[in-house]
Amino acid sequence: MSELKTETITVNMGPQHPSTHGVFRLILTLDGETVVDVEPVVGYLHRNHEKIGEYNNWIQNTPFTDRLDYISPMSNEFAYVLAVEKLAEIESPERANYIRIIMVELNRIVNHMVAVGFLLNELGCFFTPMFYAIRWRELVMDLYEMTAGSRMMPNYFWIGGVAADLPPRFLPECKELVAALPSFIDELERLITDSEIVQMRCKNVGILPPDVAVAYGCTGPLLRASGVPYDIRRAEPYSIYDRFDFDVVVGTVGDVYDRYLVRIVEMRQSVRILEQALRDLPEGETATPKKKKFTPPQGDVYHRIEAPKGELGFYLVSDGSDHPYRYKIRAPSFVNLQSLPYMCKGHKIADVVIVIGSIDLTMGEVDR
């Protein structure tokens, strides 16, 4: 019997597609349902972020970083502000440090919630886990609004501190939320973790071995799920992270299911950090005295933090003027995305979207 002659077809997935997390295009070569080749095409959301950053002055760039990864704006600000503080050798007050940790860890929880929600969306569980997650995200957003005045673009971190002290209602409400968060995570786990279909779909899909993950430069939950215990909060503690007691969460296999589990457990670890930070929050100033014009000394600096999606780094060059000479961002989503073709080859077309979901992309950060 002679072999049936088959042909591959090329499918253009995106830029308008419900599960590519924004305007992201994939050129898929398919053999039936099986993926032969994947070619990600990025750049549809390019908006000249880095070049505009060179024309903004140093202070104007802080709110501008909110637009990078719009799911976790606080982390972006944190990275930028820390980089500038390192360059100008400014020490932020103790209370501001703690407030920053609280905000960033709340942000990490929100980001992982949304990531898990989107992953389940792409698995076909249409919006139920997403709405469960968004219900809790709203509570965090309320806290943001109360402190910063804005829900998604807070512009709360300032060079040398934070914009305003916490309002009196913040602490009791935040403590209440942090106490209730484990129950939410349990609820989400009851719905998802042991689900037969989720396990069938996610286990052994999109496996990324640790050496390949390192070779691609992946960071964040993606790398940790592959079994590499690398967390910048631990490996190179910045701000006051060395004071907190938390565990680095590491997966065993490196598939989609492990990435999901790592995110869930990281939420629990963030709750631990939040509890400690809320307990130890000191009284005092929240910002160094303001200056009319901020000009850091000449020089360059690279500072990186563990953003929810991975290593977020800012490389800033100062020529002594009031705006940066060079403003370069090492965006975790962009680097993590490079491992997508490796993970997708040989799987089915339905697996491509869940692998994208498990990487946790935000196109605002990929394209900048």
Partner: protein, 402 residues
């Protein structure tokens, strides 16, 4: 007491009486063949209007219920409690531009929008909606449902092939594979019921459940689960909504359709979902049988309860992958349905009909099969729960230095 019973009787038979009254009135001035013809026509008209009208209700109902599952309100803007939402949707769909892609096969593309809706209405003809309320009591009732029900596949395949889109082509391939695979366990699981009844007619299936004084779900719980699972796959509903797969292949076979043609697909889909619930009610839940309430009220109560289960599945479960879908049909559902059929045939020969002992025997046999499968094929205690590794501070500082 007697009065109450007569009132109940009247309400129960209101539609049947209405129909016989109409035919007797017509008989006054029309020949017999004309009366038969007109009454058939009227029945068809009632069914079609019922089908179309129920969409208005089912659509809003589904969206409301799924809203509650997702911790939100659902449509609540248009009409009292948002009940007229479907009207607004229909107006929107009717006024949208009707697009035919340039490279599409025009004839097939346009025809495909109409084809899936025909079998959905045909199925409604043999369903007994209440005592004596059946449009056509065919002696081959269930066979007719199987035959007509599989026609919908052709419409979907025409749509996916005719619109000349790669997503819809993928969807078409998925649809055909899925529908053909799931038809087999669906039919096989019902054969057990048909053995108990000894007839294919839907009316006699309901009558037989009256004689057993039990709905067949007690006698054939496994068959019910098998039927319902494969029927859900048959009508492309979550978790088996691969042909649509909005997160993968966007909308599948109806990706290129807009306006009224898209509405036709939507209509067919909702009526299909309703009719599998109605068939399951008739076959397994005793059809229109039930105390006190009129028979048609019981029928709709049971059907809509099953429909809520469908919505529940849609709100909770993720979608399967193509290969897993096929595995599930051929490696799980078909063997189970065959086992059920074999043992049912055996038990039906051994136990007396219409007796509680017989019912008990059937129940025991089902429990044995289900437990056997649970122990042999899916042993829960054998399954490993994957955990993540937690690296505390001291361990990682060593790892970092090494």
């Amino acid at each position: 007491m007697e009065l109450v019973q007569r009132i109940l009787q009247f309400v129960d038979q209101i539609f049947v009486n209405l129909s016989s009254w109409a035919s007797s009135q017509l008989a006054n001035f029309l020949p017999e063949w004309a009366v038969t013809f007109l009454m058939m026509f009227a029945t068809v008209l009632v069914l079609v209007v019922f089908g179309l009208g129920s969409i208005i209700w089912i659509n809003v109902f589904e969206r409301k219920v799924i809203g509650r599952f997702q911790d939100r309100y659902g449509p609540n803007r248009f009409g009292p409690w948002g009940l007229l939402q479907c009207v607004a949707d229909m107006i929107k769909l009717l006024t949208k531009e009707d697009i035919t892609p340039t490279k599409a096969d025009r004839l097939i593309y346009n025809l495909a929008a109409v084809v899936p809706i025909v079998p959905t209405f045909l199925i409604l003809a043999v369903i007994p909606f209440g005592r004596g309320m059946v449009a056509a009591d065919l002696s081959i009732g269930f066979l007719y449902i199987v035959a007509v029900g599989s026609l919908g596949t052709i419409g979907i395949f025409m749509a996916s092939w005719g619109s000349r889109n790669k997503y819809s082509l993928l969807s078409g391939i998925r649809t055909v594979a899925q529908m053909i695979s799931y038809e087999i366990p669906m039919v096989l699981s019902v054969v057990g019921v048909l053995l108990l009844v000894g007839s294919l007619s839907m009316v006699s299936i309901v009558d037989a459940q009256g004689q057993w004084r039990l709905p067949f779900i007690v006698l054939q719980p496994l068959a019910f689960v098998l039927y319902f699972t494969s029927a859900v796959a048959e009508v492309n509903r979550s978790p088996f909504d691969l042909p649509e797969g909005e997160s993968e292949i966007v909308a599948g076979y109806h990706i290129e359709y807009s306006g009224i043609k898209f509405a036709m697909f939507l209509l067919a889909e909702y009526i299909n979902a309703f009719s599998i619930c109605a068939i399951a009610t008739t076959l397994f839940l005793g059809g229109w049988r039930g105390p006190v309430l009129p028979s048609w009220a019981w029928f709709f109560l049971k059907t809509y309860s099953l429909y809520i289960v469908l919505i529940w599945l849609r709100a909770t479960l993720p979608r399967l992958r193509v290969d897993q879908l096929m595995n599930f049909a051929w490696k799980t559902l078909v063997p189970l349905a065959l086992a059920n059929l074999m043992v049912t045939a055996l038990v039906a020969k051994l136990v007396p009909q219409y007796s509680l002992i017989g019912a008990g025997a059937f129940l025991v046999m089902n429990v044995v099969i289900i437990l056997g499968i649970a122990l042999v094929k899916y042993p829960r205690w054998k399954r490993e729960r994957r955990e993540v590794v937690l690296v505390p501070r001291s361990a990682s500082s060593q790892a970092g230095s090494s």
